[in-house]
């Protein structure tokens, strides 16, 4: 699971209002090189929840990879280094084993073999 996906997942338990972002618990993770595509990155940037991305990158110890505050989108057009760091955080960190924890209920969704499992129990639907 890439951090892009973490950025797009919310707790799906019925009645939960503040189910985002899920807290990432990474027990095993890897970095894999992914083709760099500036057009995709600039296009997706406005759709990314920046604090959630920064928070998830920090959970791997990447404390200085991204600025705390979301940069202005014009900076992404000119600052190649920033764009590459955004690329690395979004697409090149893969969580293999771990979990996603709902901030409201504390429910933990497991991640096994890189696949988050959001299946709900009968009393959660």
């Amino acid at each position: 699971m890439r951090l892009l996906t973490h950025n797009m997942l919310s707790c799906n338990i019925k009645g939960v209002k503040n189910g985002y972002p899920l807290r990432l618990e990474a027990e095993k993770w890897t970095e894999k090189e992914v083709d760099f595509n500036a057009k995709f990155l600039r296009g997706i940037f406005p759709k990314i929840d920046w604090p959630a991305l920064v928070g998830s990158a920090r959970s791997f110890g990447f404390n200085d990879l991204l600025p705390d505050e979301a940069p202005d989108s014009s900076l992404l057009a000119s600052d190649d280094d920033l764009l590459r760091r955004f690329h690395h955080a979004l697409l090149e960190i893969h969580v293999e084993e771990g979990g996603l924890v709902c901030p409201e209920t504390g429910r933990r969704f497991p991640i096994n073999k890189g696949i988050p499992n959001l299946l709900l129990h009968e009393d959660e639907v």
Partner: protein, 271 residues
């Protein structure tokens, strides 16, 4: 199921050859996933005629897909991973920035999809979930291409949602129980320019599905129609008609322009 036995008893290369003959004229085999590289599990639906028809529909529309330059593509219910791997392979050249998502309610299917993708050297983010549950809030209006080979086989309603391979085909009354749940989810996920490709069976009443989608603002077209020994399949493509207000180039907004053109044309011609 019979085809499970058939698929296992044939040499995978033979199936690829069979596929290759079907597609001999298009010479596009290298653009899709190879059966011999598709992973399998006793509780996961293997690629069959419906999967092949869906991939053929995507191949037939490949030029349009490349022109569209999708950012996010998603398969709901990816099973073996044959379809999403094929989509990722056929768009790899010319659409390199696209990101793929695949979901399945069956954990074995999610893992099988992962193995199939890896065997082909392509990537999709896989989420084990019911339809797109958990993705709906953040991905709403962002997915450009959705492909679905739903559980469409008419069965008693209580077989719907059973665990394992049953979830891949049991469709309840008229095979519509899951399809009817998928349509609003797709409607919410699709971007303004988004397209849905879905497999339907004649017993599902595809024309009624199309009119349900029309009410949500979608036009539709049959991309592939195929009759097998067991079933008659339609692969239907849906897209937003842009007739709703708020869409700049809407069909309705062309009316004033059209009447202006008509009246000025009438003047010039002296009528």
């Amino acid at each position: 199921m019979d085809h499970t036995f058939d698929a296992n008893s044939l040499n995978p290369d033979m199936i690829d050859k069979k596929r290759s003959n079907k597609l001999a004229s298009s010479k596009m085999l290298s653009n899709i996933a190879q059966i011999r590289l598709v992973s399998n599990h006793p509780e996961v639906y293997e690629p069959c005629d419906d999967s092949f028809a869906l991939v053929d529909a995507l191949l037939a529309d490949r030029t349009n897909l490349l022109n569209m330059q999708p950012r996010f593509c998603m398969e709901v219910g990816s099973g073996s991973g044959y379809v999403i791997a094929s989509l990722a392979i056929m768009l790899h050249q010319g659409c390199s920035g696209a990101q793929y998502f695949a979901t399945d309610i069956n954990p074995h299917a999610a893992e099988t999809t992962a193995a199939t993708l890896e065997a082909h050297g392509v990537h999709a983010e896989i989420i084990c979930t019911d339809l797109a549950s958990g993705l709906g809030k953040r991905l709403a209006g962002m997915v450009d291409v959705i492909v679905v080979n739903p559980p469409y086989v008419p069965t008693p309603d209580d077989e719907v949602g059973c665990k394992g391979i049953t979830s891949s085909w049991a469709g309840g009354e008229n095979g519509r129980k899951v399809i009817d749940r998928i349509l609003p989810v797709v409607h919410s996920l699709l971007s303004e320019k988004g397209w849905l490709y879905m497999v339907t069976l004649t017993a599902n009443n595809p024309s009624q599905i199309c009119s349900m989608m029309r009410e949500m603002g979608y036009a539709s077209r049959i991309v592939v129609q195929r009759s097998t020994e067991e079933e008659s399949l339609h692969i239907i493509k849906f897209w937003r008609e842009h007739t709703e207000k708020g869409s700049g180039s809407s069909w309705l907004s062309q009316f004033p322009l059209l009447s202006f053109w008509r009246s000025s044309g009438a003047k010039e011609s002296g009528i």
